[in-house]
């Protein structure tokens, strides 16, 4: 461990700029930064702004939130750690990477959290608030010393920063401003454009007074100046400006904006982490588009309102997370049975039960596909990037409408809160839902005039003369007449299921990433796309014969999977859900609990699909997947 005590004197005023030549410049294609503070000290705002300015300057960016479970956990404890990881690259960045190369910590305890999580590279540069080292409280000094001792096994380079002391020269309450000082330091280290940052700050605090804005801008400048004067390095990540206009947002913002772009006009929801922020973004702007966010009295009512609105008009949507999905189950079955188009977004978190409310998991897949009683055919899809979060909403709306069905969109906490730039969507009229058709229904047209071959039928909505019918969750015939006879029930089940087979025929087989055949095929879904492909790249660079496949549609599954699988010696899913270690006590091939996608794939293809899954409550890191690939090569890891 090396420790640098940077010059702390504020009295020492340099008149000239520090000589750049004296600084070491670290030139890299990518760099990963973590900013962590006690909850409430603003590390998140700082790091998010840092990510945004980097995206605006043309770097590839991926951010991941580091969030405590409570709003105000006890300060100066590892569990209080709150902040972000920001991975920046010359090329587009698709995942949060392995470990941070640079960390900024507001105290040593929150840094310990990251150290213990293995989130820091062995030679991580650490900018740390040093007020605790010499704090008047002896206990705090002891905690500092113990933490430093615990971290001494690594080659971290600690650079002590008098954040509080510096901020106090400008503001009375440094808890409210340190984050801007830190942002200024990062701006200096990474040569970020201060004018863009100032604009972002002005926008962020647009509802606050001018004094607040000015004080934040002054702290930003002070942090920048301090780093310029006192740090002996800079990091340079070359920028390859994107050739197309880009936007930068997180997955929940993308879901909200994508929902608007789809032309849907009602979102009914009940607050639940980590889904709720999507409705915050929506609530701000939806009314401008003639849309409504309805906060219902509970999860059940939320989906009920969406079903009612959809039945009577344009397709509506509801946004939830695991526990809410469980509560909505009965209504989802009703939407299927009445063939009421509906879009449900499930921003997955750790489960079962309340589980890990703020953390990523991909464990609602089977609940989504099979969670309703009876046979409830529906479409289940999963965006893999922020861009897909945006685009999938229009796709979902169109499928729901065309197939008179329920479409479930499985996002997750990694996409929800992560920020990534992507090409600006060019929304045109055909993205939007068509106006309501209230023309009279031709004589003889039944409310479920199922095409016997496809199961498709024309939707009739209230207001259409001559189309009156009574939708029911009871088994019913083409006329929506209740019928309990074998022919009525079997036919209804068949027609609702047939639509999904037809839908599957509209899809193209998925594209394999890497060689079309080989030793190992890794199959993933959802937000793990970037980490899996990065791991596959590394393994291929080592000469391993490995490719990957990423599925966007989980029910019905994309076509051609069996044929693709047969071109590989082994197929293995990588997922963020629980599976038994096959070598664990009592676990046998028969009783092993398997990754959820692998269960679907085994069922659909009869291929012996293996799985490698983890439930760490954080996104998978490429090195973990890389190691899993090496360990699971059918012929061993020797190329």
């Amino acid at each position: 461990m090396t420790t640098t005590t940077a010059a702390t004197s504020t009295k020492k005023k340099k008149t000239a700029q520090a000589d750049d030549a004296a600084k070491r410049t670290i030139r890299v294609k990518e760099h990963t930064v973590e900013v962590v503070s006690d909850s409430g000290e603003g590390a998140q705002k700082c790091a998010q702004t840092f990510g945004r300015v980097s995206a605006k300057m043309g770097n590839g960016v991926w951010t991941v939130e580091i969030i405590p479970a409570e709003i105000q956990p006890p300060p100066r404890t590892p569990t209080s750690a709150s902040g972000n990881r920001v991975r920046i690259g010359t090329k587009p960045v698709t995942n949060w990477g392995d470990a941070a190369h640079l960390a900024v910590a507001f105290n040593e305890q929150v840094l310990l959290h990251r150290h213990r999580a293995g989130a820091l590279t062995d030679d991580c540069l650490i900018l740390i608030e040093n007020m605790w080292k010499t704090h008047e409280d002896e206990d705090i000094r002891k905690e500092w010393a113990a933490a430093m001792e615990e971290m001494s096994g690594k080659r971290y380079r600690f650079i002590e920063v008098p954040m509080e002391e510096q901020c106090l020269t400008l503001v009375d309450n440094p808890r409210k401003g340190k984050n801007m000082f830190v942002l200024g330091m990062l701006a200096n280290v990474y040569s970020r454009d201060l004018e863009i940052i100032r604009d972002l700050i002005r926008y962020e605090f647009r509802k606050k007074s001018q004094e607040v804005i000015e004080s934040n801008l002054a702290l930003l400048d002070m942090g920048y100046g301090w780093a310029e004067e006192n740090l002996d390095f800079k990091v340079e990540i070359p920028i390859e400006a994107p050739t197309v206009p880009m936007v930068v947002m997180n997955g929940n913002q993308a879901i909200a904006m994508g929902g608007i772009a789809s032309g849907m006009e009602l979102c009914a929801m009940y607050p639940i982490t980590p889904a709720t922020s999507a409705s915050h973004h929506l609530a701000e702007v939806f009314e401008n588009y003639g849309g409504v966010v309805h906060q219902a009295e509970d999860e059940i009512a939320a989906v009920g309102v969406a079903v009612g609105a959809s039945f009577a008009g344009k397709v509506a949507f509801t946004i939830t997370s695991g526990p809410g999905l469980a509560l909505k189950t009965e209504f989802l079955g009703l939407a299927v049975m009445t063939e009421t188009p509906l879009v449900l977004v499930d921003v997955q978190r750790g489960g079962p039960s309340t589980g890990l409310p703020t953390k990523i998991e991909q464990s609602d897949l089977l609940a989504a596909v099979f969670g309703q009683t009876g046979d409830a055919p529906k479409v289940v899809m999963a965006p893999a990037t922020m861009e897909e979060c945006f685009l999938c909403m229009t796709t979902a709306r169109k499928i729901a409408e065309t197939f008179r069905c329920l479409v479930m969109v499985l996002s997750d906490a990694n996409l929800a809160t992560g920020v990534q730039p992507f090409p600006r969507p060019n929304v045109t009229r055909d993205w939007l839902a068509a106006p309501l058709d209230l023309s009279p229904v031709p004589d003889g047209q039944k409310p479920y005039d199922w095409d016997p071959k496809t199961g498709l039928s024309r939707r009739v909505i209230p207001g259409q003369p001559n189309g009156m019918f009574r939708a029911t969750g009871l088994s019913h015939d083409e006329s929506s007449k209740i019928g309990y006879t074998p022919d009525v029930h079997e036919r209804g089940c068949e027609m609702r299921a047939r639509k999904m087979a037809v839908f599957q025929h509209t899809m193209r087989p998925p594209t394999v990433y890497g060689a079309e055949e080989g030793d190992l095929l890794v199959v993933g879904w959802g937000s793990t796309l970037g980490a899996i492909e990065e791991a596959v790249d590394r393994a291929r660079d080592e000469g391993l014969s490995v490719s990957s496949l990423h599925l966007r549609f989980l029910s019905p599954l994309e076509p051609g999977l069996k044929e693709i699988f047969q071109r590989f010696k082994k197929v293995m899913t990588v997922e963020v859900n629980y599976s038994d270690d096959p070598k664990a006590p009592y676990v046998t091939d028969e009783n092993r609990r398997r990754g959820q996608l692998s269960i679907l794939l085994r069922n659909a293809t009869l291929v012996d699909v293996d799985c490698w899954t983890r439930v760490p409550g954080e996104p998978l890191r490429p090195f973990q997947i890389h190691e899993a690939i090496r360990a699971n090569m059918p012929n061993g890891a020797q190329s």
């Binding site: 995206a55 043309g58 994107p242 206009p245 880009m246 936007v247 930068v248 947002m249 913002q253 904006m257 608007i260 772009a261 006009e265 009602l266 702007v285 401008n288 588009y289 003639g290 849309g291 409504v292 309805h294 009295e297 509970d298 059940i300 009512a301 939320a302 009920g304 309102v305 969406a306 079903v307 009612g308 609105a309 959809s310 039945f311 009577a312 344009k314 509506a316 009965e330 209504f331 009703l334 009445t338 600006r424 929304v427 045109t428 009229r429 939007l432 209230l438 009279p440 209230p462 207001g463 003369p465 189309g467 009156m468 019918f469 009574r470 939708a471 029911t472 969750g473 009871l474 209740i482």
Partner: protein, 317 residues
Amino acid sequence: MIQFGCSLLGSSVDEDRSFEMDDYQAATARWCSGCGDHAVLAAVQRLLAEKQLPPEETMIVSGIGCSSRFPHYVNSYGFHGLHGRALPVATGVKLRRPELNVFVVMGDGDCCSIGAGHWIHTIRYNPNMVALMLDNGVYGLTKNQTSPTSPTGLKSNTNPKGALLHAMNPIATTLGVENASFVAQTGDWVPDHIYAVLEAAFEHRGFAFVRILQRCPQYTDQLFLNAMRDPNTIELLVHPDGVDVPSLDGLYKNKIYHDPSDLVGAFRLAQLDDKIRLGVFYRNDDLPVYEEVRAVPAKTADEKIAILNEELDRYAV
């Protein structure tokens, strides 16, 4: 009446159409003989004809239970959904299609038990619709279980020794919810009164909650037997702003002139258990109506795209 104000359909419908009660008849009702649901169905169909509501602009939403078969017997749009969940569906319909005439039909188990949360909150939202709670004090379709409105001592399959708890008072409960705007009670043995209350509920601007006292000929056939036999057990609430049914004057001598704008008086009357009171307990047409509060101007596709692009500018790199 807002409901008549803004039909989207004027152009496609023959303006000269007129509707008879038969025009609102769909499948033949299959409730038991002697069930009060028949009387409510007749009153609703009479109202639809009286008000000349186009069937396609009318929607009946129900939950699950005997009474929730209601939509199947009315020639209009209908949605026969989940046990206890009629109100959220109806609220969703009204949010996006405020011009539709929406009626909700629930049973006592539906509304006061499994759907109680929605009942309370829909009163708060105050959407402009008529909610009929067909209350026979028992679960009928599932064959004789205690309901929240079963009188103490009522023997059922779940309480063979008799219901243990005091029955809920749905009128007082509804009155107690902030934003309650129309609360009335009627009984299945007085068809003219059902109709009068239903009409007042329909004319009311906001969420009109109507409790209809019924007996179940199978399981609670004694429930209002005394009320039917002895007119003295009944007291009518009469008022020009509520209902006053002249045809009942000969039968019911107990009348109280109750101004439905008097919430405190309504509470007192709802809490008294000396008599069965029929009429409008409370009515306030000036409370915010949810779909009006949430109404936003519709936007054309081009307008939407323009606004969306402005919004995307905020996220532009």
